[in-house]
Symmetry: C2
Subunit: 389 residues, 2 copies
C-alpha cells in the first residue's frame, strides 16, 4: 500500500533517548541551560492573557519573530560569542568576545530576508525542495550533518559527497571543482558537524566567488554562535547565498522547534511558497511567542554561549593532557579519539557510567566520540569517567 | 536559482487575515472558544517547573499525546457531539448527543495506531508522500479541502477530480468506478468542506468495500466532532483505511498546530518513516503538553462543540427563514447562497460591516458563502448584517 517513493527513504537517526535510567545527555548537542526567564514569562503571560489565540490560527509568516530575529542579528553581529582563534590562541585560552567587541555586521538584515519554520530540519528540507534538482548532483562534504543525505533521498536529489582533507577540514578545491563540473549547488555546515571545525568568513567568500553563480550556495550555521564566524555579512556581496540557522542550540530552544534562514528576498519568497504548499502554519502561537522573547534577550544567551565555550575549552585541555586527539572546536561539542582506545568501547564505558555521548557507526569516524558540552557539573562527571580512559 | 519542481507549486490560499481593522473572524473555521483552562494551566506549569525541557529536543514520537488521543477516542466514541440526523430531525432541532449516550466505539484505538504531527496539513502531506503514486490518478471530489490539490502539485501526484452530485453530495459511484479503473486511492473530507455534508459510517463502509483493497483509503475527519459520524470503528474491518484528524477545530487548538491520523500500525509506521526523513521532531514540547491536556479534558470540548452546533442550527433556521438556500451542516460552518444575491457582493457587504466570512472564487461555488459558526454574540452581529440581505 506504500508509494514507490517510500523505497528512497533512509530516515535520520538522532542521538538515542534511552529511558532505562536517567542519563546525563551529552549526545544531541543541546544547550545545557534553560531558556531565559523572560521566555518563560512571555509564554506564561501569553497563554493566560490571550488564551483565545491558542484557538485561532497563528500568524502564518511569524512576522513578530522575524523582526526579532533580524534585530538580534543586527545587534550581535550575527554571532553570540566567538573564540579568539585569529589571535593564534587556541582552545583553553581563547578570549571570548561579546557583542560590540568585534566588527559590527557590515550589512543590515531586514525581516523580509528571513524565513522561519518548524526547526532548521524543516527549513533545510524546504531548501532542498526549492533549490536542488534531480538532474545534477548536490555537492557536500562526506562528513557533515547527517540529515542532508536523508533529504536527498526524500526528494530524489543525487549527492556528490567529497571526502574531507586528512586534517578534517573541507576539501574546498575539490568541492568547487565538482560543483562547477555539473553546475551544482553546494551545502555544508559551518562550523561543520561532527568535526566542530569552521571556515572563516573570508574562506567562504572565496568559495562562493568560485562556485556556480546561478546555483544556490547553502551554509548551515547551526553551531556558529559558539565560536564561528557568521557568513551573514556576505549577503552584501552574493545573491545566491542561503544561510540556515536554528534556535535549538545557542538560544536554548530545541524543545521549541524554531529554525530560520537568512537570504535575499527572492529566495526567501521561494521557500515561503514551498511552505504554503505543504503546511501553511508551521509555527504555533506559543513557539512564535517564545522565539520572539528569546531573540529579544540575546544577552542571556551570550552568557550561556560563553559558559559553554569556557567549559568546552577546559575539557579540551583536559582531554589533550590525557593524550586524546581533539579537534579545535568552534561549536558546543567536541570531536575526539585516542590511539589505542576503541570508539565503541569508549562510548559503552561512558554510557555504563550514566552519561550519553554520540558515536557514529560511519566508516572513517567510527573511532571518534562526539561529546556535547554540558554544564560544569556534567563535564566534571564526564571527566571523572574519562580520567581512567 | 529555483529547482525545476518549483514550477509545479500552486500554494494554498487560506482565509484572509486583514489587519486594516478588527474583524469578527468567521472565515477560517476556527473554534470561537478558548481552550480548556486545564490546557492553559498545563502549559504554564510545564514551562515554569521544567524550563530545561524547552532547551532539550522534545519526544519525537509524542508518546504521551498519542496515549491521550487514543484514550479520548475510546472514551468519546470518536466524536464529541452529533446531531440526531438519523432520527429525521434536521438542523434547528437536532438532539445533541453526548459521550456515553450513543453507541460505544466497537473498536479500541491503541497509541501505536496514531501518528501525531504539526497540524493535519503536515499529516496530510505525509500521507500524500507515503501512499499516493505519480503513475496513477488519486481520486477525490471536485469540491473538497482545497489543500489536497496543492499536495498533488507538490509531490507530482496526478488527480482525478469527480464532480459532486447536484445536491452537493459525493458521487460515490463515479469515485469508485474511477478508483477501480486505475487501481487508485480515494481521499475526501467527511463531513466534506466547503459543503458541510457528511456520509454516514455505513455509506463509507460500502465505499471501502468496493474500493481497491491494495490502495489506502483516506477519510479526513477534521470537522467530524460537530455532528458527523466517525469512521474510526471501521478500522476493525479494513486494513487500508487512514483517518486524518485535527485538534484545530473541535479541540480549540488551531494556534497549537496538532494534527493526527488513526490507522493500522503498518501505515502509521510508514508515515513515521516519512516524518523521520523530513523533520524528526515535528511537535514542540509545549504543543505536546497542551494537546495532551486538551485530550484529557474532552468534556470541556464536548460543551464547546454542542454550543457551536446549537448556534449553527439556530443560524441555519434564520437563514432559511430569510430565503437562503442552506445545506444541512454537520460541521462548524455553514454553506449557503440565495437566489438573486451575488456571492461576491454579499461577501463584501458583510466585510464592510466588520465580519469576515469565506467565499471561494472557484467555478461552481462562486455564489456561495462559507460561514464559520462563532459565539452567540458573533452570530448575532452577523444576523444583524444579513437581516437586510
Amino acid at each position: 500500500m506504500l508509494s514507490q517513493r517510500m523505497s528512497n527513504l533512509h530516515p535520520y537517526v538522532p542521538g538515542e533517548q534511552p529511558k532505562d535510567r536517567a542519563y546525563i545527555k551529552l549526545n544531541a548537542n543541546e544547550n545545557p541551560y534553560p531558556p531565559s526567564p523572560k521566555v518563560i514569562d512571555a509564554v506564561r503571560k501569553a497563554v493566560k492573557k490571550n488564551p483565545e489565540k491558542m484557538s485561532l490560527y497563528p500568524d502564518p509568516d511569524s512576522n513578530a519573530l522575524k523582526e526579532a530575529i533580524a534585530d538580534m542579528l543586527n545587534k550581535t553581529g550575527g554571532v553570540l560569542c566567538r573564540s579568539n582563534l585569529e589571535g593564534g590562541k587556541k582552545n583553553g585560552s581563547g578570549a571570548l568576545v561579546t557583542p560590540g567587541d568585534f566588527d559590527k555586521i557590515p550589512f543590515v538584515v531586514t525581516p523580509d530576508m528571513i524565513y522561519a519554520g518548524n526547526g532548521s530540519d524543516e527549513v533545510l528540507s524546504f531548501v532542498f525542495y526549492a533549490f536542488f534538482d534531480s538532474d545534477r548532483k548536490l555537492v557536500l562534504p562526506e562528513h557533515t550533518y547527517s540529515f542532508y543525505p536523508v533529504y536527498g533521498g526524500f526528494y530524489d536529489i543525487p549527492l556528490n559527497k567529497i571526502p574531507l582533507n586528512a586534517d578534517w577540514t573541507l576539501n574546498k578545491e575539490k568541492m568547487l571543482e565538482q560543483a562547477n563540473l555539473s553546475d551544482s549547488s553546494i551545502i555544508f555546515a559551518n562550523p561543520n558537524a561532527p568535526t566542530s571545525l569552521g571556515l572563516t568568513r573570508d574562506e567562504v567568500r572565496e568559495m562562493i566567488k568560485k562556485a556556480p553563480k546561478d546555483r544556490v550556495f547553502v551554509v548551515d550555521e547551526a553551531y556558529v554562535d559558539f565560536g564561528g564566524e557568521s557568513c551573514i555579512p556576505l549577503l552584501a556581496e552574493f545573491q545566491n547565498l542561503v544561510i540556515v540557522r536554528t534556535t535549538s542550540k545557542s538560544l536554548c530552544g530545541a524543545g521549541q522547534r524554531i529554525g530560520y534562514l537568512v537570504a535575499h528576498k527572492e529566495l526567501v519568497n521561494a521557500v515561503t511558497t514551498v511552505k504554503n504548499s505543504l503546511n501553511h502554519f508551521p509555527l504555533d502561537f506559543v513557539a512564535q511567542t517564545a522565539g520572539t522573547a528569546a531573540c529579544k534577550d540575546a544577552g542571556y544567551y551570550v552568557k550561556c554561549a560563553q559558559d559553554v565555550a569556557f567549559e568546552r575549552d577546559e575539557f579540551i585541555d583536559f582531554l589533550r593532557e590525557k593524550g586524546w586527539n581533539v579537534l579545535d572546536s568552534q561549536t558546543n561539542f567536541i570531536f575526539c579519539r585516542k590511539d589505542g582506545v576503541n570508539g565503541e568501547s569508549a562510548y559503552r564505558k561512558i554510557k555504563e557510567n550514566g552519561i550519553l555521548v554520540r558515536r557514529f557507526d560511519t566508516p572513517g569516524i567510527e573511532e571518534y566520540l562526539r561529546i556535547t558540552v554540558g554544564t560544569h557539573e556534567q563535564m566534571a562527571a564526564l571527566r571523572e569517567v574519562m580520567q581512567k580512559m
